[in-house]
Amino acid sequence: MLHLLTTVSKFTMIFIMALYTYFSYQALMPQKSEEKSQLLYKKQTALVMLLFINGYIVILMHTLYSGGSEEVTSVSVAQQMLVLFLAQLVLLRIIFIIYKFFYRAASDALVNNMCLLLSVGFLILARLSWDKALRQFFLAVAAVVLTALIPLFVRKLKFLNKLAWLYAIIGIGGLGLVAVAGSTDYGAKLNISLGPVTIQPSEFIKILFVFFLAAMLYDIREMKQVYVATAIAGLHVLLLVAARDLGGAAIFGVAFLAMVYVATRRLELFLGGLGVGLVGAFLASRIFTHVQNRIVAWKDPLSVIDSQGYQVAQSLFAIGTGGWFGSGMYEGMPEKIPVVSKDFVFAAISEEMGGFFALCLIFVYINCFLMFFNISMQIRDRFYKLIALGLGTVYGIQTFLTLGGVIKFIPSTGVTLPLISYGGSSLLSTMILFAVIQGLYCLREDQRMTEELEDIVAKGLNDYDKKSTSKKRKQ
């Protein structure tokens, strides 16, 4: 019976996910009327809830009848799981309420996307480990509280474009601290331990970095500004390389290139910078042994399965064996993949929920990326335009690096999957990123109001002119 429930659920969940993905792209298109788009968003929200509930039915039944991920059957564990499920359900509702009622101008489609990704993250972590699911939930609560006011700040604080040097000092200081005092994890120094808490500063500094570049570049009066920005950005990247966080270096580097390109409108700078980046990557592959290991593992993981290739091979075993429809929850072996709850969480999702589900998930990530770029194109204020562009690029390249690494499209770089991977820094920084973008949606609304007002005034003036001219003629 349990097997039957799992099997049926894997198909219903793929169906819900596919339908959601379809709606998310429909939402990108202009709708005929406000009612139509509201209906579309409601359908999306309903599908998110349905997916979450469907997934948890399977998790709860498995916990009750076979112990779930804990190997011990116990009613009390199942009760705890039920409480966690209800608490998470409430949290998701609260997120919807915050954006529906307090930020009416926020993008409902983006809230839906964020909640979908969060739900998938909650589901897969509850499947993988009770402890991690619980911790991640508390972190999510904290993140929701901490980011609730961000859209308001973005909308109201008008001096954010004046703080370039503050952003730079915090960024360089933070990365410098990690390079000197960070703890080494899988060959890269990423974390700083503060008592019981471990934080990964680069997750937050990448947002400050975008703010720094936007503040430097939104109003270019002389090329000197670009040179200074380049020097400071280069310092960020070098500090990341010194900490051997090459995934991070790639994210910062590409964000820098995209922002300079849009700010200066010079393609040769973009392509030249890309060239420098590739040369740098090539040199890094010669210098750093942990980069070489990852390249060897990427070329042929099976030939080095006992050493460097183990993780990627396990990931591909999971994805391949799961196939298009997946094994069903609890019927795969995602725990065989090292770091499965963090960098390789996508493999676990693909294995148990299916390749179709995973592919839809990639499309939802692409959908968010397109929304970030969309808002960037619509905003007139160049500072905020560059912010949206930079954050969109950071998000896009990070998603590409982690997904590509897990499926062996590119060598793995050890970055997390936004909103799904286990880990407080990654979760909080992505929530901040989404909140800033929502703030920009609010700003766009202000901009639209102003424009409409201007239009009315202009129209009035126009009419007045016409009247007065006709009057003059009459006279």
Binding site: M1, H3, L4, T7, A258, Y261, V262, R265, L267, F270, L302, I305, A313, L316, F317, A318, I319, G320, T321, G323, W324, S327, E331, G332, M333, K336, G355, A358, L359, I362, F363, I366, F369, L370, F373, S376, M377, Q378, R380, K385, L389, T393, G396, I397, F400, L403, G404, I407, K408, F409, R448, E451, E452, D455, A458, K459
Partner: protein, 478 residues
């Protein structure tokens, strides 16, 4: 209207940059999605069947492992479920198919390895599976139908006797493996209980599949390559040699088998009688770079193109400037050259098939418990390793071996056989030789290529040829 026009104007202002970045990202993402889809659909098989992948064995919690069948419908392996639900794997043919079918405990080998994933998936009638889900009953896994011909395998096994060695038979036009045998063999049922003993016996290497992993000196069967290179460099079949039974050059003496003096002979006769003197002389006249290229074109030093797992590479290392003594030895299949029986069978099959190698395969198709096709398998064409004309020349030489030479025991009214015998020295003892036969036979549109090696048995004609005879007789009597 004014507003949209303004936004439009603003958009056009910076559209190029956004388009470049957006399309750049979209390109990357779409390439990644295509790769992902490709991997799941086509690329995953290598990973799924990897012995390190622990997942597949978990399927057995919901599926009864499927059967392995021969192409003529004989059951080679099946899982019996007793009344208490415990399962046991049984092998009705026992040792006969031990290496071909392999084993499924203490690791996996053979078809049990290559077809593992398929046998643990079930494509039974959907309603049956639904009922099984409700009643907590296991589904019956799919069966793997092999290309193996149970009749010919049994004939080869009976004729082979107690020697160590291997037999491979391939259908030249498709690459279907009809016989795959290696001795010493083992009782597949008791592999778990005998595991320790099987592994500690390093002298006989029971678990080594000699057909695909045994590396042997090719002996006179290598004269196929030497003769071809000699003809390609302007030599003629009518060129004559004078054999006194031995030939000394650079202080090294080449002996014909049993020191037999073959007298005046042309190339065809020398090939048919397997004259070492003539071929070592022919070898000394060759351009060694071209000889090396010929060997590599014929898959020496290359990965053998096949879907079988764990196949060893053959090696040929003679090159320009090497010692003439080594040249003489290599030309008659001694020296440092090493081959697998599978590779030699592929060479024979290619000669029969106008030079084209079909990649050998052993899993013909996957069917469900009702016999309905789940997944067909087809041979892939690797390509030509010799030209059509060269294949024709070699067929003439190999036919002479049967009509006038060491393979005369293969003369039959029922089919037309071709081949080359070999007696490969493997120690300094000239009298201890591996017995080789490499060749093929055809009758109307049926044909089969074989490679047989019997370790330390003696000459090719005395031991390997009779095994080939038994196989051909069986194959063409059907």
């Amino acid at each position: 209207m004014t507003m949209t026009r303004r936004v439009q104007a603003k958009k056009e202002n910076s559209n190029t940059e956004f388009a470049v970045i957006t399309y750049g990202f979209l390109g990357l993402f779409i390439a990644m999605c295509l790769y992902f889809a490709y991997f799941i659909t086509f690329g995953a098989e290598d990973f799924i069947n990897n012995p390190y992948n622990a997942r597949v064995s978990q399927f057995s919690e919901n599926v009864i492992r499927g059967d392995i069948l021969s192409s003529d419908g004989e059951v080679l392996a099946t899982t019996q479920v007793s009344s208490d639900g415990s399962e046991s794997r049984v092998y009705p043919y026992g040792r006969v198919f031990a290496h071909a079918v392999g084993y499924n405990s203490n690791g996996k080998a053979g078809v049990e390895l290559d077809g593992n994933f398929n046998m643990l998936r079930s494509h039974s009638f959907a309603l049956t599976r639904l009922i099984n889900d409700f009643t907590d009953t296991k589904d019956q896994g799919d069966s793997v139908v092999t290309t193996l011909d149970a009749g010919m395998q049994q004939a080869a096994y009976n004729a082979f006797g107690n020697y160590r060695g291997a037999v491979v038979a391939i259908e030249p036009s498709t690459g279907r493996i009809l016989t795959l045998m290696s001795k010493p063999d083992f009782e597949p049922v008791s592999i778990a209980s005998n595991w320790e003993a099987l592994n500690s016996d390093s002298d006989s290497s029971v678990l080594l599949n000699r057909a695909t992993q045994g590396l042997y000196p090719p002996g006179s069967t290598f004269k196929i390559l030497t003769a071809l290179e000699y003809l390609n460099e302007g030599g003629k079949k009518s060129d004559t040699f004078d054999c006194q039974g031995t030939y000394t050059e650079n202080g090294f003496t080449i002996h014909c088998y049993g020191n037999t003096a073959h007298g005046q002979e042309d190339l065809t006769q020398a090939f048919a009688k397997s004259c070492n003197v003539a071929f070592s002389q022919a070898g000394l006249s060759l351009d060694l770079n071209k000889y090396h290229n010929l060997a590599e074109n014929m898959l020496f030093n290359r990965d053998i193109p096949t879907k079988l797992s764990n196949v060893k590479k053959s090696s040929f290392d003679l090159k320009k400037g090497d010692d003439p003594v080594l040249v003489m030895q290599t030309a008659i299949g001694q020296g440092n050259t090493l081959v697998t029986p599978l590779h030699m069978a592929m060479i024979a099959a290619a000669i029969d098939n106008d030079g084209i190698v079909m990649e050998p395969y052993i899993i013909d198709k996957v069917v469900n418990d009702n016999g309905d096709l789940v997944r067909p398998n087809f041979g892939d064409t690797y390509g030509a390793i010799v030209s059509t004309e060269d294949a024709k020349k070699l067929r003439k030489l190999m036919r002479a071996v049967v009509t006038d030479g060491t393979g005369s025991a293969l003369l039959s009214e029922n089919y037309k056989a071709y081949g080359k015998t070999g007696s490969a020295e493997y120690t300094s003892d000239k009298n201890a030789t591996h017995s080789w036969f490499v060749g093929f036979a055809k009758k109307e549109d049926r044909e089969v290529a074989v490679a047989i090696i019997m370790e330390g048995a003696g000459s090719g004609s005395s031991h390997a040829v009779p095994v080939a005879r038994a196989m051909f007789d069986n194959y063409f009597s059907e």
